[in-house]
């Protein structure tokens, strides 16, 4: 990792955290309709992966997708407006938190269907392969989705067709309110990968560098035509499954509960000479400001025009 990458990662981590904390507050004030699932605590995964992606690489995301969208370069003002159901949102206020997307940025959508992304990412990788492009597709999914049948279908298909796709599991220990250790017959998600004839790597998902290094190798494999890789990132969500979740299922002993990837990375980056304390402070302040501006932008944005109810059904 070089300095430029580290600074980018630290910036995106902070933008995600401030964004999610702000959404948490805004939701509490009743300004956000519907269901919201916050990414705070998992920033090392989105940023560690996305630091290696180009604009033309594709990602599929999950219901907990704000972090992926920010790290993939989606417009933050447009995201905040979308989550508030406003006209200037990325989807014109018609998708909301669970459907934040920007196809031009290679972000194929947060997804309200758990396990909905495996095949979509394989399909994006099929486009890449068929067109002979030098890109990859990344499928983010949770530990909960790993128990959907679509996990099996997506990984198997991607493997037999040698598709340039990377399956990144964010194991935050819980699928909704049910612990992974209960819901999965296998101890890890990564250990299932060999059954699909692909490498399965389990990394510390609170450590950006670990995620970054594993992703780098997976991208090399994918681009060399060696097919998909499964990376399981062990992480933790700071908030509940959704806003309003009492989080009764959490315990003092939960793995990663007492860790925070952002100060961990700050410390490591300073220690490794990738970033100075001064630079870190400045990034934090700027990120805070970016999010404040996004809130102001979103609040000032009007509601969508009523006729847009009927548009965008067909091309």
């Amino acid at each position: 990792m070089n300095k430029e990458t580290a600074l980018w990662i630290y910036q995106k981590m902070n933008e995600i955290r401030y964004f999610e904390d702000e959404v948490h507050r805004t939701f509490g004030k009743g300004l956000i309709p519907g269901f919201v699932h916050l990414y705070a605590g998992e920033e090392a995964v989105a940023t560690g992966v996305m630091a290696l992606l180009e604009n033309d690489d594709y990602i599929t995301s999950t219901h907990r997708g704000h972090g992926h969208a920010i790290a993939k370069g989606c417009d933050i003002n447009g995201m905040m407006a979308e989550i508030m159901g406003k006209k200037d949102g990325l989807g014109g206020g018609k998708g909301g938190s669970m459907h934040v997307a920007d196809v031009d940025k290679g972000m194929l959508g947060a997804n309200g269907i758990v396990g909905g992304g495996f095949g979509l990412a394989a399909g994006a990788a099929l486009s890449i392969k068929t067109k002979g492009l030098d890109n990859v597709a990344v499928c983010f999914f949770g530990d909960g989705a790993s128990n959907e049948g679509t996990f099996h279908e997506g990984l198997n298909l991607a493997s037999i067709l040698d598709l340039p796709v990377i399956f990144v599991c964010e194991n935050n220990q819980f699928g909704e309110g049910t612990p992974f250790r209960y819901a999965s017959a296998s101890e890890t998600v990564a250990e299932r990968a060999p059954a699909y004839n692909m490498p399965g790597i389990r990394v510390d998902g609170m450590d950006v560098e670990a995620v970054y290094n594993a992703t780098k190798e997976a991208i090399e494999r994918a681009k060399a035509g060696q097919g998909p890789t499964l990376i399981e990132c062990d992480t933790y969500r700071q908030y509940g499954h959704f806003e309003g979740d009492e989080q009764k299922y959490k315990t003092e002993d939960d793995p990663n509960r007492d860790r925070d990837p952002i100060p961990e990375f700050r410390e490591k980056a300073i220690k490794n000479g990738w970033m100075t304390g001064k630079e870190a402070d400045k990034i934090e302040q700027e990120a805070k400001k970016t999010i404040e501006e996004a809130v102001a932008f979103a609040e000032a944005s009007p509601l969508p025009d009523e006729e847009t109810l009927y548009t965008d059904i067909f091309a």
Binding site: L90, G95, A101, G119, S127, L157, L161, D312, A315
Partner: protein, 351 residues
């Protein structure tokens, strides 16, 4: 170019081949659309492939030989996986034709259609397009029993963001297939397996038939029969019988089930005052009931009698040949309801 007398199945094959020649982004993906992947004795010396199946009905035979396995992609039997991949590929620049071998298997393929393909454009504020054609097969009559014979195009048609076409003859099958592939939207192309052997004149040229437009196949003044797919033949048979009693019947081939052509149907009903809809779907929450509802709402004052629907009964498709035949709407069933509608027109009893 010349017209040839070819089958419904050949017409669809020809449409796919022409689309694939025209646009290299068109791919065909599904279970055994070629068959025999990685079987050495099916590879020619020049590297070209033979198929083992060419689709379970042999409909896509030869395509893998011309276009190769990169564009005619055999998948594992994993409908969710490859339908989801087809949606992802469509969203990122390919123009896939994905085959659902029997529409009854939709349970395993539904999420990519219902929640992804149909909704992405809307949820993303118009910033995605999904040029995906879903080829599938419906219809009773082949002794394939309850899980390989149902008629489900109406179910697809109930999903906003999905267009559904149901061809009734070889000419339409080719033109509608080419139109479906050209569409930048998710189109379900539902083929009645009982029509596969039907022959008709089909031009060799590339041509499209407008999606969303019904076809008035016979003009008439006193009764309108709207029919879908294979049922168009039943409608024509009924119209011929009624003609012997000087009853003038207009037959409309709906061609597109969603969005169906309200203008043509309403115009016809306003002229004739009588409507029968024939639909092989089960009788409730289907295309026929939808048409009846719209006509009752929009053309009530023009009606000279109740709107009649002739559908399959509210049962699964049975296996035994006599039961299966009793399940499928036929001319006798349509004539029975027609009798009621045209009683005031008739001079003498019909049967």
């Amino acid at each position: 170019m010349t017209n040839r007398n070819i089958t419904f199945m050949t017409a669809i094959n020809e449409a796919m081949a022409q689309a694939m020649r025209k646009d290299e982004n068109v791919i065909l993906i599904g279970t055994d659309v070629a068959g025999g992947a990685e079987v050495d004795h099916l590879v020619h010396d020049d590297g070209r492939y033979d198929d083992a199946f060419g689709g379970v009905f042999g409909l896509s035979k030869g395509l893998v030989t011309e276009f190769g396995r990169e564009r005619v992609i055999d998948t594992p039997i994993a409908e969710h996986g490859y339908f989801s991949a087809a949606v992802g590929a469509a969203a990122t620049g390919l123009r896939p034709i994905a085959e659902l071998m029997f529409n009854d298997f939709v349970g395993f393929a539904l999420d990519p259609i219902l929640n992804q393909g149909a909704k992405m454009r809307y949820m993303f504020g118009g910033k995605a397009k999904i040029p995906l054609t879903v080829r599938t097969v419906h219809g009773a009559g082949a002794g394939a029993a309850a899980q390989h014979s149902q008629t489900l195009y109406g179910m697809f048609g109930a999903i906003p963001g999905v267009k559904v076409v149901v061809p009734s003859n070889p000419y339409d099958a080719k033109g509608l297939m080419l139109a479906a592939i050209e569409e930048d939207n998710l189109v379900v192309f539902s083929e009645d397996k009982m029509l596969y052997g039907m022959k008709g004149d089909v031009p060799e040229d590339y041509y499209t038939i407008e999606i969303g437009k019904a076809n008035v196949v016979r003009s008439g003044e006193e009764l309108t029969i709207v029919a879908i797919g294979k049922m168009v033949q039943v409608a024509e048979e009924v119209a011929n019988i009624l003609a012997k009693d000087d009853i003038s019947t207009e037959v409309i081939d709906l061609r597109t089930v969603a969005p169906w052509d309200q203008e043509t149907v309403l115009e016809s009903v306003k002229k004739t005052g009588r409507l029968i809809v024939i639909d092989e779907s089960n009788p409730h929450n289907n295309t026929a009931t939808d048409i009846a509802s719209v006509v009752a709402d929009q053309a009530f004052d023009y009606l000279d009698g109740p709107i009649k629907t002739v559908c399959a009964p509210n049962t699964p498709v049975p296996f035994a040949t006599n039961l299966e035949q009793a399940y499928i709407p036929n001319a006798a069933k349509v004539l029975k309801v027609a009798e009621e509608l045209i009683v005031d027109l008739k001079k003498e009893p019909m049967i």
